[in-house]
């Protein structure tokens, strides 16, 4: 604001409200960590305390022994990583075609891809389950990965960004004899890095947290992802709160780390979606 306003009383109200907001947003995280390191004697104490007198780190290890959490963690990394990489490839190729190439039916196809954004994933859940089941892909990595390898949102995000690359740059490389593959690989992808980063973080975060799909397409414990493992932990130990909280902390950490490191790119992707989406 160019003109410093003089309602300093208001500024205090706002400051306190924002601070209260932050406390309410972050308190559950604090509580999650605090409970995870509490010995049982402290857990069931009333009134509950945030401060832990005798922190106990065992729970983090116990998570790995009572259920195959390590395996689930590896599965999640594997599945989320693969989906992220595949989305980057598939979406960027499609976005390149939509942003930089001329072909018949371009606008129509793009509209169809966009319309897919309006289809709730639960609508395609049952048919997709049937497809994966008939392919014999229940309890396989491909069954967990491939249905998410393409994203309309990602294509849209990248196409908007690729469109801002100056046409002359692409035309000049055409004149220099570059094939479309070379232009895609050596010009558009390097220039599109910010948007690719946004999509990568976006895909990672949302796929790490994906729940319903792995819930219905995995039956064996060794194929479960972290979120599923966490939910089975609840089923088996529903009063062992320190254990559940330790599992939650572990399941949340990778995605919080990725988000905090890449929050700029993430939020720019999110807002680009909104301003382009109008």
């Amino acid at each position: 604001m160019a003109r410093p306003t003089r309602h300093s009383a208001w500024d205090w109200v706002i400051f306190i409200a924002l601070l209260a907001g932050v406390i309410i947003t972050c308190a559950p995280f604090a509580w999650m960590i605090s409970t995870a390191i509490k010995p049982n004697a402290e857990v069931f104490r009333f009134p509950p305390t945030l401060w832990v007198e005798a922190p106990l780190w065992d729970n983090f290890l116990r998570v790995f022994t009572v259920i195959p959490f390590g395996r689930a963690f590896a599965n999640s990394l594997m599945v989320t990583g693969a989906i992220t990489i595949l989305q980057l490839i598939v979406c960027s190729m499609a976005a390149y075609a939509f942003a930089c190439l001329q072909f018949r039916g371009r606008e129509v196809l793009f509209l169809i891809y966009l319309a897919a954004l309006m289809v709730p994933s639960q609508v395609t859940l049952i048919p997709n389950f049937l497809v994966v089941r008939n392919l014999g892909w229940i309890d396989t990595y491909q069954g967990l990965i491939l249905p998410f390898a393409f994203s309309s949102f990602g294509t849209f995000l990248l196409r908007q960004y690729f469109k801002t690359i100056p046409r002359e740059l692409i035309e000049a490389s055409r004149l220099d004899g570059c094939s479309h593959w070379r232009i895609y690989l050596f010009i558009v992808l390097p220039l599109g890095k910010p948007a690719l980063a946004a999509l990568a973080i976006f895909a990672f975060v949302s796929q790490w947290n994906n729940f319903l799909w792995p819930l219905i397409t995995t039956t064996k414990p060794e194929m479960q992802t972290v979120q599923i493992a966490l939910s089975t932990l609840q089923g088996q130990f529903n009063t062992d709160w320190p254990l559940l909280m330790a599992g939650s902390v572990l399941a949340t950490m990778p995605v919080l780390a990725v988000f905090i490191l890449g929050n700029k790119a993430f939020i720019s992707g999110l807002t680009a979606g909104s301003f382009g989406g109008k």
């Binding site: 308190a27 509580w31 190439l101 289809v119 049937l130 975060v205 219905i216 807002t271 909104s274």
Partner: protein, 283 residues
């Protein structure tokens, strides 16, 4: 040439989005338990849904959840964005803090909140009794309070989403328009009402749509916190789809419910696009 670039996306799109949408519609006209071949039953699934007492309750719950959580999310998101927009130092840190719940897995969030809402040892009730409420609610095990608890958690989790979008929208409003408004004696509330809110309306429109659509799809919170209980008090549309499809193996019935979700989402989108000219101002 272009089609080579499009090939991977086209295959995946057709296989996992295009055909399934059509298939979902077709399956919704059948009776199918996965073990016996599907039988065409026409509109029977839809008529039974309308006569299904639990489905009525499910729609009521979903409606209540949407009507309560969406306005709260939007109003609070807007207020926090307006506040945050005035902050000069530490904006990034605050924004990250508010956004943390959004990126947290809903499963973990639901687990923590189940603990916080624990009737005897939870923090929420500890705070309530600290302020003198003698008999705090039994939250997740009470059919009256379970839904409010789910709504509170959903607001906590999704508030940051709208807020970040509103903040970006606010930062998109040009300073010179505010300067002109200052000279035109529009300050404080007047400026908010006549300048900021109208110019923010495209963002508000977008946030409203995605929040509405997102909240019709609530599932994980219910799955973990209440398992749709007690006595279906928190059973919602997507949970009901899941339950029928993957617990009762009624693929046709579940698909019909999914088509109703689809219809609701389409309807909201279309109505909003129709209405937007009345109150959305694009610059």
């Amino acid at each position: 040439m272009a089609w080579l670039f499009l090939l991977p996306s086209l295959v995946l799109f057709l296989l996992f989005t295009g055909l399934p949408v059509v298939a979902a519609l077709v399956i919704s006209f059948t009776q199918w338990d996965l073990f016996n071949p599907p039988q065409f039953v026409g509109l029977q699934n839809y008529t039974s849904l309308f006569n299904d007492r639990i489905f009525g309750q499910v729609m009521g719950n979903t409606g209540l959840y949407v009507l309560a959580s969406v306005p709260i999310q939007i109003v609070l998101g807007l207020l926090f964005a307006l506040g945050l927009n005035r902050v000069i130092h530490g904006k990034t840190v605050l924004r990250i803090a508010y956004f943390l719940p959004v990126v947290t897995s809903t499963i973990a969030a639901a687990l923590v909140w189940s603990w916080l809402f624990n009737t005897n040892f939870g923090v929420v009730n500890a705070l309530l009794s600290a302020v003198g409420i003698a008999e705090p609610p039994k939250w997740l095990s009470s059919s009256k309070w379970a839904m409010p608890a789910v709504i509170i958690v959903s607001v906590w989790q999704n508030l940051g989403n709208g807020m970040v979008l509103f903040l970006a929208g606010l930062q998109n409003i040009r300073q010179d328009v505010y300067d002109a408004a200052a000279l035109d004696a529009a300050r404080g509330w007047k400026r908010l009402w006549f300048i900021t809110l109208p110019l923010l309306s495209p963002t508000t429109f977008f946030v409203l749509i995605i929040t509405l659509i997102g909240s019709f799809q609530v599932f994980e919170l219910v799955f973990i916190m209440t398992n749709a209980g007690p006595a279906n008090a928190t059973n919602t549309l997507v949970f009901y789809i899941y339950q029928n499809g993957f617990q009762f193996y009624q693929m046709g019935y579940a698909s019909a419910a999914a088509m109703i979700l689809f219809a609701i989402v389409l309807f909201i989108t279309l109505v909003q696009y129709r209405l937007q000219n009345r109150w959305v101002h694009y610059g």
